[in-house]
């Protein structure tokens, strides 16, 4: 779908613009959280085993036999290391923990309040309210969808939004 060239813009009539939008803020917060998590993903599609072959899959938690049966990448590559890794190293290689778990285990949340940590270093929220940007075309979004609160700029974008993106279920 190439950009619409020089398409006339229609103004949204006041009915839509003035409609009261009320959507549970928790629901919106969840949607935002999910979106931000998606923006941190390394791969959009996780490959199925049939596509990649078995040599380089993500270690699936709980799916394979624990312990000995697991192989590290270097085990598979057989770089001919004779030395056996220490228990510490072996543990780190075989048991991957996600960042949330690692933060919990680090104990940084129970440090004295005046100790700066990863948790305290995040910048404060902005002082000004967010700018509304059309979720379809990126122009200023003057209006908000009555069903899902996403901003849009005009009738064209409202139509595209309704057709393709409006989240009836929101989450």
């Amino acid at each position: 779908m190439p950009p619409k060239r020089g398409r006339p813009r229609r103004q949204v009539q006041s009915t839509a613009a003035n409609a009261q939008v009320w959507i549970d803020p928790d629901v919106l917060a969840k949607r935002t959280k999910k979106h931000l998590e998606e923006l941190e993903r390394s791969n959009y599609t996780e490959p199925s085993a049939t596509l990649t072959g078995a040599d380089d899959e993500e270690p699936e938690r709980g799916s394979s036999v624990r312990g000995r049966a697991r192989q590290t990448i270097s085990d598979k590559r057989e770089h001919g290391r004779k030395k056996k890794s220490t228990m510490n190293v072996r543990t780190a290689l075989l048991y991957r923990k996600n960042l949330t778990t690692l933060i919990e285990e680090s104990g940084i949340s129970s440090l004295p309040a005046n100790c700066p940590t990863y948790l305290t270093a995040v910048v404060p929220p902005p002082n000004e309210p967010p700018r509304l940007i059309c979720s379809v075309c990126g122009y200023w979004g003057k209006y908000k969808c009555v069903r899902c609160a996403m901003p849009y700029c005009d009738l064209n974008c409202e139509a595209v939004h309704k057709e393709t993106r409006c989240e009836r279920r929101v989450i």
Binding site: S42, K97, L102, S106, L111, P112
Partner: protein, 452 residues
């Protein structure tokens, strides 16, 4: 025994910038993809440096050692490091070498121990030094040539793959209580671009590599967002922002590129129109709330950080802002930042921003300069010291965010003692700490009313 060389690794979440001290190496680091990458088209898996051999970059599958800026997948990281230390890259014998490696800001204590374990137990380096990238900047030339001393106060902005940090440094030490983090980095920007393009034009959700290239060649930071947004609605023939990006065709061995004015294209070529995507993506660094991330933008983060510093020296930070990290390479980044900082800074202070010739490798170059410094050996922890007191040896010697508070180590140790998963072969965590810390220049913490 003296180590025969020092390996230097700026171990980033996207690329490892690496090299070593020795006559045959110049100052340019090797850039190694920090990932295990599967190419479906090539039917091959590339580990780290092997990625140079990749030919088909479509729908690559990435396994990254880092998650949100922290090292969580040690299996993948070890695979990449194995390659880097091997004869295919740095050609070092770890047991005869020293290592200087960077770690993320506010690295977790439990992760720092794993760094130590890999360095000494797995690779058996003779000695090592671990530090954040910004802490090394005073050794480099970001603020001038190597003959002049670095400024007493500097504010390093490090905008990388995972996030963006504002790091004030006073007399060579990071003032951790004023370090600020913004959760916007290059990874998020590329994903954001993927999302916009996929919704508006082609489905590029699986094309991280290609979209990263598009981002690097087309995106810029707008100095006037309102104006640029309006220009994007002009007639395409008059719209100065609109670019056509010709997507790569790997089967025909053609890379992607921006279409030149009047350039004829093949019928089979796929065109990606880059209009407001060009600047709305990097805009996220300045306005995270555009993607509903409730965080101040970079200019606000800088102002917040400086406000936490001692009042009498705040002016010295405003005038010594330095930019490192790949995102600062966007055209317009520095101009826009200056513009906004000027309006945030007190009217009587001067604002000055320093940029590096190559912001991606600046921390590496500073690290290399430090490694060559005659004082470097006095900063390392040796394997013998590690064998004697484990990670405590590193905790004592490496200055990090924990050095900024005396009570911190004890608290962490107390907690660790209670933790359910405790390695039995670890040394007692109650080992006395002596020396080291008091000699460190950690007294530079901001004093007075700010520390409430």
């Amino acid at each position: 025994m003296e180590p025969s060389c020092i390996a230097v690794l700026d171990n980033g979440a996207c690329t490892v910038k690496c090299g070593r001290t020795s006559v045959s190496y110049d100052d340019q680091p090797r850039l190694i993809t920090n990932a295990v990458v599967r190419s479906r088209g090539d039917k091959a898996t590339y580990i780290g440096h092997e990625f140079d051999q990749c030919r088909d970059f479509s729908s690559l599958h990435y396994r990254l050692p880092f998650e949100k800026g922290y090292l969580v997948d040690w299996d993948a990281q070890k695979a990449v490091w194995d390659g880097i230390f091997s004869d295919e890259v740095l050609k070092i014998n770890p047991s005869e070498s020293s290592l200087l490696i960077t770690e993320p800001y506010f690295n977790l204590p439990n992760l720092q121990e794993v760094y130590d374990q890999f360095v000494f137990e797995e690779y058996e380096f003779h000695s090592y030094f671990r530090s954040t990238p910004a802490a090394l900047i005073p050794h480099g030339t970001l603020y001038g040539n190597s003959s002049s001393a670095p400024p007493e106060c500097m504010l390093v902005v490090d905008s990388g793959f995972s996030f963006t940090h504002v790091v004030p440094i006073m007399e060579g030490s990071i003032v951790w209580s004023a370090v600020k983090r913004l959760d916007v980095g290059g990874k998020l920007l590329t994903n954001r671009l993927k999302e916009l393009v996929s919704f508006r034009q082609w489905n590029m959700m699986d094309e991280t590599y290609i979209m990263n290239e598009v981002k690097e060649s087309c995106c810029y930071v707008s100095v006037d967002y309102r104006r640029d947004l309006d220009m994007c609605r002009w007639d395409p023939r008059k719209n100065p922002i609109l670019q056509e990006y010709i997507l790569p065709n790997f089967s025909a061995n053609r890379n992607g590129r921006i279409r030149k004015a009047g350039e004829l294209i093949n019928e089979a070529d796929q065109i990606l129109y880059m209009n407001n995507e060009r600047f709305s993506v990097p805009e996220t660094i300045f306005h995270p709330s555009d993607i509903e991330l409730q965080q101040q933008g970079l200019p606000g983060a800088i102002a917040s950080s400086i406000s936490l510093l001692p009042e009498d020296v705040q002016g010295l930070f405003w005038v010594n802002i330095g930019l490192i990290g790949g995102n600062t390479k966007f055209p317009g980044f520095c101009d826009r930042l200056m513009l906004e900082l000027r309006s945030l800074a007190p009217s009587d202070v001067e604002v000055k921003v320093y940029t590096a010739a190559d912001p991606t490798t600046e921390a590496y170059k500073a690290a290399l300069a430090f490694a060559r410094n005659s004082a470097f050996p006095s900063h390392v922890v040796t394997r013998a010291e590690y064998q004697e007191s484990g990670s405590n040896a590193c905790r004592r010697k490496f200055k990090d965010w924990r050095s900024s508070d005396r009570g911190v180590d004890q608290t962490l140790d107390r907690r660790k003692g209670k933790a359910p998963m405790q390695d039995s072969d670890e040394e007692p965590s109650s080992a006395p700490r002596k020396g080291g810390r008091t000699r460190n220049r950690t007294g530079i913490q901001p004093s007075g009313p700010r520390r409430r």
